[in-house]
Structure formats: structure tokens, C-alpha cells
Amino acid sequence: MTLTTTLIAGLVLGGTYALVAMGLTLQYGIARIMNLAYGDMIITAAFAAFIVQALPSINPLTGLAIVVPGGFVFGYLVYVFLLSPLVKRAPNQAALEVDSILTTFGLLFVIQGVLLVLFGSNYTSYTFLNVPVSIFGTTVAANRLIALVLALAIGLLFYALLTRTRWGTALRAVAVSPQSAQLVGINTDRAAAIAFAMGTALAAAGGTVISMYQTFTATGGVVFTMKALIVVIMGGVGNLLGALTAGLVLGIVETAVSTYVDPGLTLAATYTIFLVVLLWRPEGLFGRRVR
């Protein structure tokens, strides 16, 4: 592979990571929920996209219009029924963190179990626009390019929603200070539910995009959660643009490692980056929070 090919493949992967990490940073930064089942939500969406695209007259692109709202509703229900009671009973943030970690860890096994029953443990994939396209002197599959464009477009759309609308400003106010947000009349519980649901919608978008160009399996959620978490920490919790940049960096590094070193060592590379961040700048590479 040439350098350009590697770079483009890295950007495709990185765009996807950035997209899903933005969802996770919404969930952790605003709803204050550390969601360990996040990757399994991504995988669920990938399977949903797989089913939807098999329907007549629907392709994965139009399938997004079904899967993403579906993700939003699912996330909303999970928050209202599973997490909101924990938020209400928690005496402080630390207790909530432990409770949410445990609950979503249990949820991880439930989702994974359901997927295993429905789809088995084999790798799944479908072909969508697997035609070569020439770009910058190399050929790339069209589905990968579409994945990159989609990831960036959806990511920027959500970013605009959060930074350019009143409603998005209210959500970010909750991220900065839940108490003061309450004082100015923001319903923090509702804001948290919406942020969590939006995060799940982003996970669903990510899952659909992933399913366009990658194989996936019911047990693959852990790795996605892990990578999204690392991107979130690299970017700084709650920092959307940080997540975008960090996601692209991680995608390029991983592709480079799998091209020039060994595909079996990509997670090791991810962890090495994580370690460096923890030792060097645990507050994230790009400052602290969205202002």
C-alpha cells in the first residue's frame, strides 16, 4: 500500500471513530453516564443496518433514516428506565459513576447475548457500492469514501446542533455545571436523557457506517467501546472537536500499524497511545471542555 492509500484508509477509520466518540462524549460529558455497553449499541446498529438494507428498495444510506432515529429511541428508553432511577438515588457523582459502570456492564452482556442468539458468533457483512474509485492517484472502494463523508457530515451536523442552537447551548450548560443549569431553568434530567439518546443515535450512525465497509461480530462491542473511550479521553471529556481530531489521529495510527507492522497489533497500538495520554496529559490533548 502506498502512503496515500494508508492515509485515506486511516481517515475513513478515524472518521468513524470520531463519529462514535462524539456520541460517547455526549453521554459521559452531559448525561454523566459512563456507558460500557456503548460498543454493543454500535454493533446492534450494524446488525440493524444489515437487516434493513436487505429489505427491497432500501440501501444502507436510506437505512440511516431508520436506524439513527431507532438508536435515539432506544437510548432514550435505556436512560429513562435503567439509568434515571440510579441518577436520582445517587448521593454524589462518584456513587453514580460506580452504579452506571455496573449497570451498563450488565447491559453489555444482555445486548451481546441477544445478538448472539439472533445472529450467532460469525462475522457478518454485506456488499454495498464495492466499486473502485480513483482519488489522489490511488484507488479506494466507494463505500469507504461514502463512510468518511457520512461520518464527517453527521458529526458536523451534531456539532452544529450543539453549538448553534439554543437547545444545544442548554445541553452544554449542563455539561459545564448541572447545578447552575438548574438555576437558569434547564431541566437537567430531561437534558441528560436527550444527551444520552443523542449519543446512542450517534452510535447507531457509527454502526451503520461501519457496516458499509467492515465485517462485524456480535462479540466485537468491547473493542469499539474501548476505542471510543480512548478517543474521548484523548480529546478531553465533553470536547466535541477534540473527539473529532483524536478520532482521526487514532484511525491513521491504527491503519499505519496494521499496514506497516501487523494487523494483530492494532489494539496494542491503541493502548500505547492511551498509556502515553494517561502519563502525559490525562486531562486530554486539547484543553478541558466545550465552552
Binding site: M34, L36, L82, P85, L86, A94, E97, V98, D99, I101, L102, T103, F105, G106, L107, L108, F109, V110, I111, Q112, G113, V114, L116, V117, V222, V223, T225, M226, L229, I230, I233, D262, G264, L265, L267, A268, Y271, F274, L275, L278, L279, P282
Partner: protein, 318 residues
């Protein structure tokens, strides 16, 4: 008096357990072995994570390290030395994890441990495929399950003894302080980072040893078997069910859940992770302090009611 009595009772229970293989068949011994293994795992997990509330999701990472070390070395080194090597590897990994995360907020530790098993599984797989050229190893030892069982039982006793001694000493207090408020703990003169690191290392070494001792039970070992995330999950749910902050909590939780797990995996092999996941969520909701915490709470309330009632009766009588 009471202490002496409970010590005698405990000694009797452990003697009975040690003698069990002479009365039970191979199947019974194997069953008991699995049970003692999980009791040890859950107790070792709770040793650190219970009082400090640093949720470790890396149980199977250390368990797998132990098992794999044995699979690689059992033909070249005497078995006691293999255990020492396994413990040392577990120790080094624990120190690495601890040094890079335990000085930061708890959530970094959780994240790091969450993916650790998968990381080590991939590295071992990569190593086996690229360096040794095989994936999967056979493991034949010249002793039966009862020897594995006795080793585990001894480790279990040691783990509970460590838990007891830590609780009784000032270090038990130290761990509770860390769980409550690390800033206050530091300002009271407690070197919190060092205490956490030491206890996490101890807990991880025990877990590594459980994996190392149990390894011969498989006869065939490959990364997906010994790094199975269900092991981390079961350990956690057992400790929480009984009550992770109490010495006997993990034991109380491990016994019924192990039975349930055995039954589920025999009858519902495809659905057990769904059922266990739901059960786990239910435990977090209903019994946040575990069965022992629940009983203790209700017992004090009951006693308070009773003494109030008897006070009333006395007053009425007088």
C-alpha cells in the same frame, strides 16, 4: 470466646472441604473445584475493589495470564516454579496498570481494565501465530483434579486470611477512607496511591494464581478460552451479590451464583449471558450493598424496633 468458636468452626469446614474428594467422585470434585475457584476469584476481587470502589473489570486478564503462563512453561519448569513465574508476570502487569491509572480519577482505572483482557488476548494470539506459529496448546499433567482442588482450596484460605488481616489492621480503615474520600485520606497522612497500588497488586496476583492453578483442568488452551470475558463478569456479580465490602460477602454471593451458572449453562447455553446480565442489573438496583448489607440493615432496624417495643412495655408496666 466467639472468635475462638468461629475459628474452630472455620477450621472444621475447611477440613471437611479438604476431605471431600475422598467421598465425591471425579464429577463432584470437579464441581467443587469450580466453586472454590470462583469463591477465590470473587474474594480476591473484593479485596481491592470492595472497599475502594475502584471497579476492576480485568479479572480475566490476570486469570488468563496465569493459565497461559502454565501452558507455555509446564514442561520446562517444576510446577511450583511455574506458579512463581505466573505470579511475577501478574504482579508486573498489575503494577503497570496501577502506576499509570491509580494516581488519576477512578474512571481511568475502569476504562483501562475494561479493555485489558482483550488487549492481552490479542497480543498472546499475535505472539502465538507469528512467533511460535501455533494457536492453542495441549496441557497434560500427571496429577488429577483433586490436586488442583487442594491447591485452590489452600489459595482460597490464604485469600480469606489476607482479607481478614487487612480488615482488622489499620489498612482496612485505610481502604474505607479511600472509598469514601481520597482527598481527606491523603490529608490524614495516608499515601493513597501506594496503598491502592499494593492492594491491587495483591488482588491481581491471587487472581493470576487461580488461573495458573486451574489451567490443567482444560487440557487444551487457547486465548479465547482463558480470556473469556464471562469470567470477569461472573466474578463481579458474585462479589456484588454477597456484598463486596464484607469479608464473607463474595463467598455468600459465589455459592448460589455458581450453582445457577452451572444450571443455566447446562440448560440454556445460548441464553445464560442474557439472564445473568438481567440478574446483574437487578442486583445493582435492588441490593446495592449486597445480601449481607441488606441483612445487616434490616437486622439493625428490627432490633431497634424490638428495643423500642420493650421500652414501651417496661414503661407501661411501670
Amino acid at each position: 470466646m466467639i472468635a475462638a468458636f468461629s475459628f474452630t468452626a472455620l477450621a472444621a469446614v475447611f477440613t471437611a472441604l479438604a476431605a471431600a474428594p475422598f467421598f465425591l467422585g471425579t464429577y463432584g470434585t470437579g464441581f467443587l473445584l469450580g466453586l472454590v475457584g470462583y469463591v477465590t476469584l470473587a474474594s480476591a476481587w473484593a479485596l481491592f475493589s470492595g472497599p475502594t470502589r475502584y471497579v476492576s473489570l480485568a479479572t480475566v486478564a490476570f486469570f488468563g495470564i496465569g493459565a497461559y503462563t502454565v501452558a507455555v512453561l509446564y514442561e520446562t519448569l517444576p510446577s511450583w516454579l511455574v506458579l512463581v513465574v505466573a505470579a511475577l508476570i501478574g504482579l508486573v502487569v498489575a503494577l503497570l496498570v496501577g502506576l499509570s491509572t491509580l494516581r488519576l480519577a477512578g474512571v481511568y482505572f475502569v476504562i483501562f481494565t475494561f479493555g485489558l483482557a482483550e488487549l492481552i488476548r490479542q497480543i498472546v494470539t499475535w505472539y502465538e501465530v507469528n512467533i511460535t506459529g501455533t494457536l492453542g496448546r495441549y496441557l497434560f499433567v500427571d496429577y488429577g483434579p483433586e490436586v488442583v482442588y487442594w491447591k485452590l482450596l489452600a489459595l482460597c484460605a490464604v485469600t480469606l486470611a489476607i482479607g481478614y488481616l487487612v480488615k482488622r489492621s489499620r489498612w482496612g480503615l485505610a481502604l474505607k477512607m479511600i472509598g469514601d474520600d481520597e482527598v481527606v485520606a491523603e490529608h490524614c497522612g495516608l499515601p493513597t496511591a501506594r496503598v491502592k497500588l499494593a492492594l491491587f497488586a495483591a488482588s491481581s496476583v491471587i487472581i493470576t494464581l487461580v488461573g495458573a492453578i486451574q489451567a490443567p483442568r482444560w487440557t487444551y488452551i487457547e486465548p479465547t478460552i482463558v480470556f473469556n470475558p464471562t469470567i470477569s463478569f461472573l466474578t463481579l456479580i458474585m462479589a456484588l451479590l454477597g456484598g463486596a465490602g464484607r469479608l464473607w460477602g463474595p463467598v455468600v454471593g459465589a455459592v448460589p451464583l455458581f450453582l445457577l451458572f452451572e444450571w443455566l449453562s447446562a440448560n440454556f447455553p445460548d441464553h445464560y449471558s442474557i439472564i445473568l446480565g438481567l440478574l446483574f442489573i437487578a442486583i445493582v438496583f435492588v441490593l446495592p450493598n449486597g445480601v449481607l448489607g441488606f441483612l445487616e440493615e434490616h437486622w439493625t432496624r428490627l432490633r431497634a424496633n424490638r428495643s423500642a417495643k420493650s421500652d414501651l412495655e417496661k414503661r407501661e408496666a411501670g
